[in-house]
Structures are given as structure tokens and as C-alpha cells.
């Protein structure tokens, strides 16, 4: 592994100070399940310093306050997958957290790391984009809150500055009765990296007419975003296989419009359509909230 200086922090203040002193020549260590792989990869330059925030206990846990759900960034995927708060208010985020890696990875990997690493396959991001989550970033210069929809520039690149650390993830919980789903396709049952995934939200009125829909594909677009072209097709309609298939086809069409035809298109085009259809059907079924891979 590359050599580096190691700075263990016991508070976010200390982490911000360390990042400021390192002037861009440092990496933040949370769960380490991505960073340690990177540091071992041949050709990776030394990070200079590792700022270890993993022992800041106050940065773990989820809570509900003033009508908002907040997740602290060092909460592990295992904790999120079992969180009663998430199971009640955003079940697809709990499902997505439980679909990451293996039990060992979920015991170490954190939601903050998943967001900040910004890999295209990051499973927690599609549900967070569907929820319109907001991210609080902190540095010695102060705090700012950004919308997750504007946070990602491209895979592995965000608008976070080198001295900024993620301190909170917040979202407004979905109203009661709104259903969510997360579906994921990987190459194997365990330890799968998403080849494609879909997070979906569907609200229906008492007549069964769809009043709101949100669709966010994962590992499909240059950056995560909702697909309003497919979402609007659903509004005012009743759930049906044909409707969901049409919305899936539209989502694939939008993906092609954004990415162009690539080597993987032949595979991704039909698969995304099917995953969207399945996610929407799960939202309108009694079978649960989806899963992966």
C-alpha cells in the first residue's frame, strides 16, 4: 500500500482543520471499503495524508426532527438496512443499503463514503436522488447545504471541495401510503456491483390513480437524475403492466438520448426498461419493496 501520514480525528472540527492544513493533499477515510482498494492499486499516487474520521461516534445514526429525516454520514450500510426510521419513511433506501456488497462490507462501508466516492454503481444514491436529499458540507470556512441533484459532476467527481467533509444527509420523509422500490441487477447474488439499478416512488389516490411518480436509474446515466419524461406518463393513470412497460421503454429512450449508443447499449437498453417496469410494479404490489441484485 502507498505510504501516507495518518491523522486520526475525534471530531469534525479536527477533521476540517486537518483537511485545511493538508491543502488538498489528503484523503478522508470513513469505512475504507473503497479507499483501501484504491490505495493498493498500482499507479495510484500517494494521498499524502489520510484523515481518519471513522472513530467520530457522533457522526453515526439516523434521527427524525421537525418533519425531516437526518442521516449522519458514518452510519454503516448494515445499520441503515436495519433502521426502523428508514423502514418507515424511506424503505427503498434501507433496501438499497442492504443490497451493497457483503455483510462484511456493509458492517464497514458508510452512506457518507458511498455518496462522496460517487461511483456510478453507488446503491444508496438513486433512492437519495428520488428523495431530493440535501447534503451538508463543512470546512473551516463554514457550512453549506447542497441539493444532491446538483452534487455530482460525473462518476467519481462531485462539487465538494478538497477541504470539505460531509456532515449530514437530510430529506423530507415520503407521505404515508406512498410506496417505494429499489431493484438492482448484478452479475452474482452476493457481493454484486450494480450493472444497473432503479429506485422508484409511486403515490396513488383512493381510486388507485397514480398521483406522483419518481424514477431514478443507477449506473445508467452520466450523473443520477430523475426521468420526468417517464414519470409524467404515469400521472393520472391506473397501474398496469402495459403502462409500466411503456414507462420503462421511455426511460431507456431517455438514457440513450443522454449517453448515445455505446458498447453496452445493446444490453442496457432492454434491461433498464425491464428494471423500471419491475420497480414500478413492486411499488404497486403487496410483495414488498424490492431488493437486489
Amino acid at each position: 500500500m502507498k505510504p501516507f501520514d495518518y491523522i486520526a480525528c475525534d471530531s469534525m472540527e479536527a477533521a476540517c482543520t486537518a483537511l485545511d492544513l493538508c491543502r488538498g493533499n489528503a484523503r478522508i477515510l470513513a469505512g475504507g471499503t473503497d479507499l483501501l482498494l484504491e490505495l493498493r492499486r498500482p499507479g495510484t499516487p500517494s494521498p499524502g495524508a489520510i484523515v481518519d474520521i471513522s472513530r467520530i461516534a457522533s457522526m453515526r445514526g439516523t434521527y427524525e426532527r421537525q418533519g425531516e429525516i437526518s442521516i449522519r454520514p458514518l452510519t454503516t450500510h448494515a445499520e441503515l438496512s436495519r433502521s426502523a426510521t428508514l423502514r418507515s419513511w424511506a424503505p427503498f433506501l434501507a433496501i438499497a443499503s442492504g443490497a451493497i456488497g457483503s455483510p462484511q462490507i456493509r458492517n464497514r462501508g458508510t452512506i457518507g463514503g458511498n455518496i462522496m466516492n460517487a461511483a456510478a454503481c453507488a446503491d444508496t444514491v438513486p433512492p437519495l436522488v428520488a428523495l431530493g436529499a440535501r447534503l451538508t458540507l463543512r470546512s473551516v470556512r463554514g457550512e453549506r447545504v447542497v441539493d444532491i441533484g446538483t452534487f455530482f459532476e460525473k462518476p467519481y467527481r462531485t462539487i465538494a471541495r478538497e477541504d470539505e467533509v460531509l456532515t449530514l444527509i437530510t430529506f423530507i420523509p415520503l407521505p404515508p401510503g406512498v410506496r417505494t422500490a429499489f431493484v438492482k441487477l448484478g452479475r452474482r447474488n452476493a457481493l454484486s456491483i450494480a450493472r444497473l439499478s432503479v429506485a422508484a416512488v409511486v403515490a396513488r389516490d383512493t381510486e388507485g390513480v397514480i398521483t406522483e411518480a419518481r424514477i431514478v436509474p443507477g449506473a445508467a446515466l452520466p450523473v443520477w437524475k430523475r426521468i420526468p419524461e417517464a414519470e409524467t406518463m404515469l400521472i393520472g393513470e391506473k397501474a398496469s403492466g402495459a403502462l409500466f412497460a411503456a414507462a420503462g421503454a421511455k426511460a431507456s429512450e431517455v438514457m440513450l438520448g443522454l449517453t448515445g449508443r455505446r458498447w453496452s447499449t445493446e444490453y442496457k437498453e432492454p434491461v433498464l426498461a425491464v428494471l423500471v417496469r419491475r420497480a414500478l410494479a413492486l411499488c404497486c404490489s403487496d410483495r414488498g419493496e424490492g431488493g437486489g441484485p
Partner: protein, 160 residues
């Protein structure tokens, strides 16, 4: 690269060490402490051969920096048995021939231990999910699942 001091507890024994900051927990256990029961497999968090318990939770020791274990409790496969007395989980692995070449066994035992602590009555599906981060290249999964299932029963109904 300046060494860092580390205070951690391994299998109930307090350790005070000076370590290079880029040492992984896996290297600390095997190379510094000589606890070679924890196996070095893929070193990318895929095979689970290096699984240990960190504060009771199964983790890939290849993906943890040793420095991150400051003040924490580590349990390796060597920490399971009490002297010569094996745990019901280890006994069940032997009785069910769940040990083939043996390379995956320490990791399997640690993942199973984490499961049985949280869930004393797991279903077959829950056992399979709990060991889904552990590869057995001999493909002896059936015996391993049976052993964990039997161990759970033995632990719920210990012989007098």
C-alpha cells in the same frame, strides 16, 4: 512515514504497538502478532478469508487499517476456543465435515459467529445470506450451512 502508536485488544489481550500507518488489520494480525489463522485471500474484500470480528461485527481485515482499531476489540479465529475446548460452532463444523481444504474455514466461522450472536435461530436463507461474503473454492457450502444450522441448535439446547 511516521509510525503511529496503537492500543487495541485482540482476543481479550490488550496490545500496545508502534505500527506503520499503512498497515492493514490483516497484516497486523498475521505478520506482527503471528495470528495466521486469519487467511490472506483476495485482499480486495471479495473472498472473506480474512474475516474477523471488530467490536463483534464481521469485517474484512484486508479493508481495515490497523490504526482504525484504536480502542476497539478484535476477535480472530484463535479467540474462539477456550484452550482445548472448541465452541459448539467449531464442533459442528467438524461433525458435518464442513472443513474441506480449510482455507475459508476461519472466515466462515467468524461470519457465522456474528450471525449466531445476532440471530440464535437463523433460517437456512439467513445462514446463506450471512456467509454470502465468504467464498469456499471447494464448494462445500451445503455442509457449512448444515453445520451453522446445527450449531445454532446446539447453542440453544446445550448438553448438560
Amino acid at each position: 512515514m511516521k509510525k503511529i502508536s496503537l492500543h487495541t485488544t485482540v482476543n481479550g489481550r490488550a496490545c500496545e504497538l508502534e505500527i506503520p500507518p499503512n498497515q492493514t488489520l490483516l497484516d497486523l494480525l498475521r505478520d506482527t502478532l503471528g495470528l495466521t489463522g486469519t487467511k490472506r485471500g483476495c485482499e480486495i474484500g471479495q473472498c472473506g478469508a480474512c474475516t474477523v470480528l471488530l467490536d463483534g461485527h464481521a469485517v474484512n481485515s484486508c479493508l481495515v487499517l490497523a490504526g482504525q482499531t484504536e480502542g476497539r476489540q478484535i476477535t480472530t479465529v484463535e479467540g474462539l476456543a477456550q484452550g482445548e475446548k472448541l465452541t459448539p460452532l467449531q464442533e459442528a463444523f467438524l461433525d458435518h465435515d464442513a472443513v474441506h481444504c480449510g482455507f475459508c474455514t476461519p472466515g466462515m466461522l467468524m461470519s457465522a459467529k456474528d450471525l449466531l450472536k445476532r440471530n440464535p435461530s437463523p433460517t437456512q436463507q439467513e445462514i446463506r445470506a450471512a456467509i454470502s461474503g465468504n467464498l469456499c473454492r471447494c464448494t462445500g457450502y451445503l455442509q457449512i450451512v448444515e453445520a451453522v444450522d446445527d450449531a445454532a441448535k446446539r447453542m440453544r439446547h446445550p448438553k448438560k
